[in-house]
């Protein structure tokens, strides 16, 4: 992460969009009275989404005024968290994880792709479509190497990438498509690649093998109607783990 400075060219003013304003109200309500300043991170985030992926300085003042918070305090937060972009970004911001697991699994190749197709980190590609940054672990190490793509659709994870799939991903994005997030190899989320070799017998987990409980331990003595709670079969996790919902 390079030293983060505010962009030289800044809009004079900032206002939340109608949708953004709605979300702001939602967040402000979430915190106990008098602790509204806790909303500074969500508000910066909403401002970033409202403003094409970066937080202008004017937004910090707006947020400071809204939360009765000194501007410098807002600036501290905005500069501390690297998820806030202080300069304009491309339509799609590619965040390549460069932390050890991803690095060992080839994030260097992904970075090279970014460098050759987009330019140096932080710069915006000529067509305005892309910019990229190297970030620290995004918590998807099992599917290393991976990138997070932030755009108007949200912040989506593309995993198990290599040079070819990375190029393909950029192509898709460039052509205006919305590629499906998730692994780029033959696997479901973080399950093993190929056929499952464990837990293949459904009766192991669908509850059919469970013995009926005659008495629930520790249940109040008098209750007669007590019955074993129904266990829901574990559902497969949605592939879009971190979708921007």
């Amino acid at each position: 992460m390079a030293s983060r400075h505010l962009a030289k060219e800044q809009p004079k003013t900032f206002a939340f969009s109608a949708e953004g304003e709605k979300q702001v109200k939602y967040w402000l309500k979430k915190y106990p009275k008098g602790k509204q300043r806790s909303a500074v991170i969500p508000m910066l985030w909403i401002a970033q989404k409202d403003h094409g992926g970066w937080v202008p300085e004017a937004a910090m003042r707006v947020i400071g005024d809204r939360l009765d918070m000194a501007y410098i305090r807002v600036l501290e937060v905005a500069t501390f968290y690297t998820m806030f972009n202080l300069k304009p970004v491309g339509k799609h911001l590619i965040q390549v994880c460069g932390t050890t697991p991803c690095m060992l699994r080839g994030s260097g190749d992904l970075i090279k792709v970014c460098q050759s197709r987009i330019g140096s980190a932080g710069s915006i590609s000529a067509d305005g479509n892309f910019s990229w940054a190297e970030v620290e672990c995004l918590g998807a190490c099992v599917n290393a190497p991976m990138v997070q793509v932030s755009n108007s659709d949200g912040d989506l994870y593309y995993e198990d990438l290599d040079e070819a799939s990375m190029n393909a991903l950029l192509d898709e994005l460039a052509s205006g498509k919305a590629p499906i997030p998730g692994p780029r190899v033959d696997r479901v989320t973080s399950a093993p690649t190929g056929e499952s070799i464990t837990l293949t017998d459904a009766s192991l987990f669908d509850g059919s093998r469970a013995k009926k409980l005659k008495k629930i331990p520790n249940a109040p003595a008098k209750t007669k109607k007590a019955a074993a709670p129904k266990k829901a079969a574990p559902k497969a996790k949605s592939a879009t783990g971190k979708g921007g919902k």
């Binding site: 992460m1 390079a2 030293s3 983060r4 505010l6 300085e57 000194a70 501007y71 410098i72 305090r73 600036l75 501290e76 500069t79 501390f80």
Partner: protein, 685 residues
């Protein structure tokens, strides 16, 4: 409740209060703990790690500033926890921390103004390794603008955040912050705006390295070449403890000294940076006006001219003492005037209606330190942030740490703490106590209620009536009790209380400042003696012969017919009584400029010329004749005078914080501050 804990420090067992931090405990046990981020008057940050000590048995060394004895548990066998401050582990830990701190430090001590008085330097010698093992690139940080007073060399910063905590907690303006993180962390104001606090200079002292230094003092001296004189300040009426550092005949800088009863360890920016005013606009020889032009004269000539004038009709002579007049000169002048039969003397050049009804009626009775004990404070016609910034920090502390409730009736201003605003109409004082308001209830119920009334209120034409109304409030709310006196006057002139103590007010049948000026306007006054009085409408004085005794060529000297050059506060051993009525003495750091003399000596010499030789030859003899007035029984309800308070509201003071006295007005730095303030205000609009 005793909450004592046993602890073993460096092999000896102690019993100390559990709330003590390990650092306090170790210091009490006589061990020295190095530190950078910890400061006793600021919150604990615990981020520099220099204060590491060993807790025997714990896997890692502990930051002693951030851990209390209560956090320790005894050893397995029940014996008290062992803390080591001198073990190998500690030594290694300190060396490690030091090495890390120095990794990105530029080591530019030879060109650093902090050199010679730098914590980092000292502790590197005391606790560091002799060489570094780091040979990568160092980081560099751009300098940040913080205004005309604080110079920054941010590469030197070690991110202790003392400055941020001071500005936020003590100064009460959230303007400094630490942006970015980790290796990229930087201290800055928002978009490099100027610091607006009147206490901002204190961050220079707090900064343990040379990241924040004094801009006006930059590169002008090394600390070891300076002659240090402990004295007191006269920029406001607090009498803050200061140290004046001089080289040869020049004052190079002014620093605060510790005085818990007055200024703790802070001083205002005016106090700290006014010293360039001591070099400019100085009166260094006597002058006499001949044919409308001032020309240099000898002492004998000047004094003889004045002495001759003083032989005239004593009822047509007046004397006004200014805001910076010291007590010795005031006493000498009073004695001389009395001797001549002159009755029109006054020390209240702003016309304040105060000082003739007993001492408790014009001083800050509860004392400055007692502000911390107050639980309800009502400010009337004052803006302590401008009139006495250090005292304002105390009020803020009472709010921050003691939950004091504060209210203001006066010109609206940002006091740096939340307060109830009762508007700016002084006539509302009369009905204030009948108001149904939680603050009024709090005032009635308070254990230590306090009223602070300022000069904005008392120097109005209806000041006496306002004083009566305030006194009545004080009586009604029982501010004056056996063990507490919450009636407080906040002065803004350093010399005022001292002059009032010595009775420099019109003698029976004499005129006060207002009347003296009127007489001067109508030509009824022959001679006017100004003892450093510059805050007067000089253009109103028509044909009167004006004698000015003072140190600076300000308004008074410009109007004068004879100028007697006196000494500034850093050039004389003189007494001042602060707003609490505390008598203190300045010490001369340098000699008076040129032919100038200590003020009382000039008056003594003048008395000789006038044939009325004053009966003292030494300052000791003179001081023996000065005494504090005895206080009668104090009844605040009788203060002031009955009558109607005018409808005119308290207007925001037109006098800028930076220009309140002739020394400050001569200072270029003060002028820069004032114009920086104006530019910033305009930009904000």
């Amino acid at each position: 409740m005793t909450d004592l804990r046993k602890v073993n420090i460096d092999g000896k067992e102690y019993e100390m209060p559990g709330r003590y931090t390990l650092m306090q405990a170790c210091e009490e046990a006589g061990a020295e703990i190095p530190r950078f981020c910890y400061h006793e008057r600021l919150s604990v940050a615990g981020n520099c790690r220099m204060c590491l000590v060993e807790w025997v048995g714990a896997p890692k060394p502990m930051a002693s500033c951030a851990m209390s004895l209560n956090d320790l548990r005894p050893n397995r066998d029940g014996s008290p926890a062992n803390i080591r401050t001198n073990s190998d582990t500690v030594r290694k830990a300190r060396e490690g921390v030091m090495e890390f701190l120095l990794i990105n430090h530029p080591l530019d001590c030879p060109i650093c103004d902090q050199g010679g008085e730098c914590d980092l330097q000292d502790q590197a010698i005391g606790y560091g390794r002799s060489e570094t093992r780091y040979d990568e690139d160092k980081r560099a940080v751009e300098e940040k603008n913080m205004g005309p007073l604080v110079k920054t060399v941010m590469t030197r910063c070690i991110q202790c955040t003392r400055c941020v905590r001071f500005i936020t907690e003590v100064a009460g303006v959230e303007e400094l912050g630490l942006v970015n993180r980790g290796e990229h962390a930087e201290i800055t104001t928002y978009l490099q705006a100027n610091l607006t606090s009147e206490l901002s200079g204190n961050v220079i002292d707090l900064c343990p390295v040379g990241a924040l230094t004094s801009r006006p003092y930059a590169f002008s001296a090394r600390p070891w070449e300076l002659r240090k004189t402990e004295t007191i300040d006269v920029m406001d009426a607090l009498g803050s403890a200061i140290r004046v550092d001089a080289r040869g005949s020049e004052v190079m800088r002014i620093l605060p000294r510790l005085n818990d009863e007055i200024n703790e360890e802070w001083i205002s920016d005016k106090t700290r940076f006014v010293w360039d005013g001591l070099k400019r606009q100085r009166l260094d020889k006597p002058f006499v006006r001949v044919n409308g032009k001032l020309r240099p004269a000898s002492w004998d000539e000047a004094l003889a001219t004045v002495a001759e004038k003083l032989q005239g009709d004593p009822d047509k002579i007046g004397a006004i003492a200014g805001d910076l007049a010291d007590m010795e000169s005031v006493k000498a002048l009073k004695d001389l005037m009395e001797n001549l039969g002159v009755r029109s003397i006054d020390c209240r050049q702003d016309g304040a209606h105060i000082g003739e009804q007993g001492r408790s009626g014009y001083i800050f009775n509860s004392g400055i330190a007692a502000i911390e004990e107050a639980d309800a404070i009502l400010l009337i016609g004052t803006n302590p942030r401008v009139e006495a910034p250090v005292l304002n920090a105390r009020i803020r502390k009472a709010w921050l740490e003691g939950d004091a409730q504060i209210a203001l009736l006066g010109a609206k201003s940002d006091l740096t703490y939340p307060h109830t605003y009762f508007g700016n109409a002084p006539s509302d004082l009369e009905s204030l106590s009948t108001k149904k308001h939680p603050f009024i209830t709090a005032m009635r119920k308070a254990k230590n209620p306090m009223i602070i009334v300022g000069m904005d209120a008392l120097s109005r034409a209806d000041g006496a009536q306002i004083l009566r109304a305030v006194g009545k409030l004080a009586a009604e709310w029982k501010l004056v009790r056996e063990d507490w006196n919450g009636f407080n006057v906040l002065h803004s002139a350093a010399g005022r209380v001292g002059a009032l103590d010595l009775g420099f007010v019109p003698l029976k049948g004499g005129m006060n400042t207002g009347k003296i000026l009127k007489a001067a306007q109508s030509g009824e006054l022959d001679t006017l003696f100004l003892l450093g009085a510059d805050e007067l409408p000089m253009d109103q004085i028509k044909d009167t012969f004006v004698v000015y005794l003072g140190s600076h060529g300000d308004a008074g000297a410009h109007r004068a017919d004879v100028i007697l050059p006196g000494a500034a506060y850093t050039e004389k051993n003189a007494s001042f009584a602060n707003t609490e009525g505390r008598w203190q003495q300045t010490r001369a750091a340098t000699a008076p400029k040129g032919d100038a003399k200590e003020d009382w000596k000039i008056i003594r010499a003048l008395s000789d010329h006038a044939g009325r030789t004053l009966p003292y030859d030494t300052v000791q003899d003179l001081r023996k004749t000065m005494s504090t007035p005895k206080d009668e029984v104090f009844d605040p309800a009788k203060l002031g005078a009955a009558g109607k308070i005018k409808a005119a509201v308290f207007a925001p003071s037109s006098r800028s914080f930076w220009f309140t006295n002739p020394i400050a007005r001569a200072s270029e730095v003060m002028a820069q501050c004032a114009s920086a303030q104006v530019t910033q205000l305009e930009a904000a609009e």
